[in-house]
């Protein structure tokens, strides 16, 4: 059976703040060897966005950061618009959106985490040519072996 393969893949990593789940999503996105990879942040408040820009420059990952302006403090709208724009300019490309997802241990933590990303995921899956990749991060309550994270060296190399 002849199936027309997509011409290339494009990775989009959703970054809110530069913490370990975000870095893990970035690492997985790099490992998938997309033809184009970029990181997307949504500017809801000025200070966290400025901090994200500074931290991004400091880690120097080689991946460009795109900051989307969200004047009405919306997370889903700007991301949807951006992904739709990408698809419109490259119709035969597949866009893989990497979204960190927190795996929770206790029942009530389900209502605290993943609220906005669930909505985002559902809306993104409605778009054409978009794949949503949920990069898991197990919270402490969900970790089987409660091993405390070691403090990394100041000059630790990031992937």
């Amino acid at each position: 059976m002849e199936v027309a393969l997509p011409s290339s893949t494009r990775g989009v990593v959703l970054i809110a703040q530069l913490h370990r789940p975000a870095l893990r999503a970035l690492a997985y996105a790099k490992a998938a060897r997309h033809s184009t990879l970029e990181a997307v942040g949504v500017q809801i408040e000025r200070e966290p966005a400025a901090k994200l820009q500074q931290d991004w420059g400091r880690i120097d990952s080689g991946v460009p950061l795109v900051l989307l302006d969200s004047p009405y403090r919306d997370l889903v709208g700007p991301v949807m618009e951006y992904v739709t724009t990408i698809h419109r300019s490259n119709p035969r490309e597949v866009v893989v959106v990497y979204v960190p997802e927190y795996i929770v241990g206790r029942w009530w933590e389900r209502f605290l985490h993943n609220r906005s990303t669930t909505k985002l995921r559902q809306q993104l899956l409605g778009l054409k040519g978009v794949v949503v990749a949920a990069v898991p991060w197990h919270l402490e309550s969900a970790r089987e072996d409660a091993v405390t994270e070691e403090v990394p060296e100041p000059h630790e190399e990031l992937p």
């Binding site: 370990r20 870095l23 966290p48 901090k51 004047p71 403090r73 994270e149 060296e153 100041p154 630790e156």
Partner: protein, 485 residues
């Protein structure tokens, strides 16, 4: 269907507001007074009732004037102490921020919990008082008091979510109008009573311990007048520069005016032999006895209702602000920091709305039931914040060298120690007096909330990322401490 819902939402709540379009509100003192002082003045509608009720339980209504003087003195002392608070920390964190930074995180959590419980019960008591006021005017509505209260909470919620800017002049008129009305009522009441032959109830000299207890209980119940003071103390960012000094001025004017209004109403209640609140709010009973004119009573009731509404609306805003601060310190779910598209902290507003609706419904819209739970929350935070201020002044004294500055700081320390002692005394008395009546509920709420919140009070730990600390609250805390220390 989706478009229809969206359009309905726009109709009810209005167009979205961009972040850049949100302008921080700066008020002059004469406008800041009614906006932030509505809570403390509206307590005149239920504080005299609480005092009379406490005395009635010991059959000591004759002692109302002395109790009123006691309450006024407590109010003035705490007013000056909180003025010093505002001068020290002119930010909108209020007691929570002060205790958290000076006494530590655990005390901060206790203070935050008690302030939130205080605001919750402010809404509940104000709505119940408003319902009782309406039921006094229209007795047929007495059976509908619980649905009416819940309805009032619903209206205030929708207004809060839509962010209708209340016309400042209307609220100004309401606040000063209420003061004017109380003053006129006092003058008319005194002059018309002078011709009357029935004398006010004489006071019994306190001979037995039970009489002392009922006096203490009455003063402690009257201390419910102080409850709006934290909101005034956190209003500094909304004043013009110099913020702390102007906010202190607003605070002291509001406290003095409310103390005067309370005193006048209490004296009138004593003179007109009003013995309880079974017939309705004491303010309206007094108005009826003084004026004997239904139209005047309706006008007074209208102004009082507007004042109560303003108090509830202000508390909604303050509650959502405070939950946002606590959520930013990771004591509450992070969703409470998020503003919706109308730039309103929707989570906090909905939280206070549902919680107060439940509380009012459970209490059957009875002010008497709710008032006993009320005072504990306030005075927990007052005691802790005054202790924090004493420690703060001690810290300043270690650095101050000029004689004048040192003298001022010593004076402030005396003020705060006195305020802490008085507040602690009131707290103990209220706890002892009202424990079985319902104060245990407030204590249980505060304690359970403190034990539920995470003990670390930091953002969820993902570990430091490549050697730089990325927790936002730490850097913000550091910056803030440098700013006001």
């Amino acid at each position: 269907m989706r478009g229809l819902l969206q359009r309905l939402r726009r109709l009810v709540f209005g167009q979205p507001i961009a972040t850049d379009a949100v302008v921080p509100v700066t008020l002059r003192t004469r406008l800041a007074l009614p906006v932030f002082g509505a809570g403390i003045l509206s307590a005149v509608l239920y504080a005299p009732d609480a005092v009379v009720d406490a005395l009635r339980r010991g059959s000591q209504q004759g002692a109302i004037p002395f109790m009123a003087v006691g309450v006024v003195l407590i109010m003035l002392l705490l007013g000056f102490a909180y003025r010093s608070n505002v001068h020290a920390r002119p930010d909108s964190l209020g007691d929570y921020g002060l205790v958290r930074d000076v006494l530590g995180r655990k005390s901060g959590v206790v203070t935050g919990a008690s302030v939130l419980v205080d605001y919750l019960f402010t809404v509940a008591v104000s709505v119940a008082a408003l319902t009782q006021l309406v039921a006094f005017l229209i007795p047929q509505l007495q059976v509908w008091d619980v649905p009416l209260s819940v309805g009032i909470v619903g209206i205030v919620t929708v207004v809060a979510l839509r962010v209708i800017r209340e016309r400042a002049r209307i609220i100004l008129g309401v606040w000063f109008g209420f003061l004017l009305v109380v003053a006129i009522m006092f003058v008319v009441g005194v002059t018309s009573h002078g011709a009357d032959t029935t004398s006010p109830i004489a006071a019994n000299a306190p001979q037995t311990w039970s009489i002392w207890f009922s006096y203490a209980g009455a003063i402690a119940s009257g201390a419910v007048m102080v409850t709006g003071i934290e909101h005034l103390a956190a209003s500094a960012p909304n004043h013009a520069k110099p913020r702390g000094i102007r906010a202190g001025r607003t605070l002291i004017i509001a406290v003095t005016a409310s103390a005067m209004a309370f005193f006048l109403v209490a004296i009138l209640a004593w003179m007109y032999r009003i013995t309880g609140w079974s017939k309705g709010p004491i303010l309206l009973q007094v108005a009826q006895d003084v004026f004997n004119n239904a139209l005047v009573v309706w006008i007074i009731a209208g102004i009082a209702a507007a004042l109560l509404y303003a108090a509830v609306a202000a508390v909604f805003r303050r509650f959502s602000n405070l939950t946002a601060f606590l959520a930013r310190d990771a004591y509450l779910p992070r969703q409470l920091t998020m503003r919706n598209d109308r730039a309103v902290l929707r989570g906090g507003v909905l939280l206070v709305a549902t919680a107060s609706a439940i509380v009012v419904a459970l209490a059957g819209a009875e002010v008497a039931t709710l008032i006993h739970l009320y005072v504990i929350g306030v005075f927990t935070s007052i005691v802790l914040s005054q202790i924090a201020m004493v420690r703060w002044v001690n810290g300043k004294l270690q650095l101050a060298t000029e004689r004048k500055a040192r003298l001022g700081l010593h004076g402030r320390r005396v003020l705060h120690v006195a305020a802490a002692v008085v507040a602690a005394a009131v707290w103990i008395v209220v706890l002892v007096f009202n424990f079985l009546n319902g104060a245990w509920i407030a204590v249980a709420l505060i304690a359970s909330w403190c034990s539920c919140t995470p003990s670390t009070g930091t953002m969820p730990r993902y570990g430091p990322t490549c050697g730089f600390t990325s927790t936002t609250w730490k850097s913000r805390c550091r910056a803030r401490r440098a700013a006001w220390c």
